[in-house]
């Protein structure tokens, strides 16, 4: 029974990983950028929500509604000021600039908020600890269930956005070939900036739920980046529903690892990630399909 419980909890944890990972997956699918500041942006959003809640006493969900456009603007700005130029300079430069940006964000957060870890859990009342019981030993916390639901809605929403809306069509066209997209009247710069804004807004949602379900500090970002990246890669880089699947695999592996040994949580997660990568390399299939078709779950 304890194993069943660990697997159930692992699946729920996977929902959180999918939530934190979907912006990373989206950005890679559209711009081919792996944003190494991803985790730090999530932590930044968590701190912003925490500050607003602290000053006004409003619900973190309402505070998130304020932070969302701010983070969207930041994503837009990041694309225009930094990533656009990085992309022109080759494949490696975006890695270097986003890594540098991550260091700047971490240390600015440290300078402003100090070393204390914070949490949004006190601000969400009963939601932080209420749970449904399934049988005698399995409990599903309301928060974990909510996070899983939000992850599914967000991934589904991104999928719909790409598949059904004019903006989604423009994003897909630009992702395939920005120059040709320009020929048919698409402003690819604006499309990339919009995609970056959307990606960073999803990061803000992930960061807020990070703050609700756990504690966070200024240097919590890199760990979130690694988990997000592991979820994305296990699920197949650039595939939206794959990200949910990858998150679940990662969460289940970590929980089973934790059940085996006290240090097993992280070790099992990293090991499964490297194993999946190794198996894919050995079988010769491309890991990074990275095309927008893959993003929509169609075979390229």
């Amino acid at each position: 029974m304890i194993w069943v419980n660990q697997i159930v909890q692992g699946i729920l944890l996977g929902g959180y990983y999918a939530l934190i990972a979907c912006g990373l997956s989206f950005m890679f699918g559209v711009m081919r950028i792996i944003n190494l500041a991803h985790g730090d942006l999530a932590v930044l959003a968590a701190f912003l929500v925490w500050s607003i809640v602290g000053y006004t006493g409003m619900s973190p969900f309402l505070a998130l509604a304020i932070v969302l456009p701010v983070m969207g603007g930041l994503g837009w700005l990041m694309q225009r000021v930094m990533l656009e130029r990085s992309l022109r300079a080759g494949m490696l430069v975006p890695l270097l600039t986003t890594f540098g940006l991550g260091i700047v964000i971490q240390n600015l957060l440290f300078a402003y908020y100090g070393a204390d870890t914070r949490s949004l859990a006190p601000a969400i009342g009963d939601l932080a600890f209420d749970s449904w019981s399934l049988g005698s030993q399995i409990y599903i916390s309301h928060l974990a269930g909510l996070i899983f639901l939000v992850a599914v809605l967000l991934l589904g929403g991104l999928q719909l956005l790409l598949a059904r809306t004019p903006l989604g069509r423009a994003i897909r066209a630009t992702a395939e070939d920005p120059d040709t997209a320009e020929l048919v009247g698409i402003n690819s710069r604006a499309v990339y900036a919009a995609a970056a804004a959307i990606a960073v807004m999803t990061v803000a949602v992930g960061g807020t739920f990070l703050g609700m379900r756990a504690t966070f500090g200024p240097y919590a970002g890199p760990t979130q980046l690694i988990f997000a990246f592991e979820a994305v890669v296990i699920g197949g880089l650039g595939s939206m529903w794959g990200t949910l699947f990858g998150g679940i695999v990662l969460g289940v592996a970590q929980n089973i690892g934790a059940q085996i040994a006290p240090n097993g949580f992280l070790i099992a997660g990293h090991a499964v990630f490297l194993l999946v990568l190794g198996v894919r390399l050995a079988s010769g299939s491309a890991i990074a399909r990275g095309r927008i078709r893959a993003l929509l779950g169609r075979s390229p």
Partner: protein, 353 residues
Amino acid sequence: MKGGAGLSIQRWTPLSVVSVGTLAVLGVVLAAGPLFLGANAIDRLTTLFIYIILATMWNALAGYGGLVSVGQQAFFGIGAYAAIRLSSFGVGVYPALVLGAVFAGAVSYALSGFALRLRGGEFAIGMWVVAELFHLLVNLDKLIQGETGTSLIALNAFSPEHRRDYNYWLALAAVAALVALMYALLRGRLGSSVQAIRDNEEAASSLGVRVLATKRIIFVVAGAGCGLAGTLWLATSISFQPATYFGVQWTAYMIFMALVGGLGTFEGPILGAIVFFLMESLFGASGVWYLVGLGATAVVFALYLPRGLWGTIEERFGLRLLPVGYRVMASGSAQLAARSDAAESGGDSRAAH
């Protein structure tokens, strides 16, 4: 080497002969350093040598090989850990420091078949995960006592004065040997192959470049080099705390040094290490703002000065102190076209696609 129609290929300039000679003399002078330098200067120079090793290794990977690793701290940490383990088995402490680096090289060889098949960002974060995993596994060793860490106690057999000089000489020998080795490798056939791979892997492969074998040499030397930097760091600080040695800040420093000095130039990272060393001495005490400055500087250089300080100097003045590339010269001494040198223009062609 004679080309057609009165063209010749030049590899050395008189200036570069002088500069290599100067470096050799500098090495001899530095070797005598403990005779005329104070204890503090010796300690600081030892640190600088370690930085130069790290910067040169990272630049060989990223600047020449196109391999951006966010996980070189894996080798830095595993080298130091291996030295502690070997010392606990009774191996002499200084041999253990060198063998620790050999072990790091062996680990990088074992990893290479897997890691080098990853592309771009996958390689970057894949290596980071490897470093995290090594960190967790090292923590499992009872000797290390988890994050508490341990010390290289065997070093206490030497008095602090002797230890300082020995560490200095070991670091000097290491930086001289590794920089010379990297220089020889990059000037040779390997240098052209690896840059061809960096610029276009498929094209290089179709020309008969053995992609994996070529990348592997750079990767293993860089792994052993970072391992040696780790054991040298251990020799100077004595204590081993896994979180310090396996921390991603090492990669941040390496990126900073290579970018500011000049990614893909041979001299650049050495200059970058000196700049980093000076900045740390001047501003390191201001802690968090210093780190904000490092990150921001790296971003600005990556965006606006992708060839770094040295690359800019090189372009402006046509200086090549330690040339690894080729220059096509007309039969006189006039240079045909400054940027026609095939190997060294890698940075530009990379910017073009």
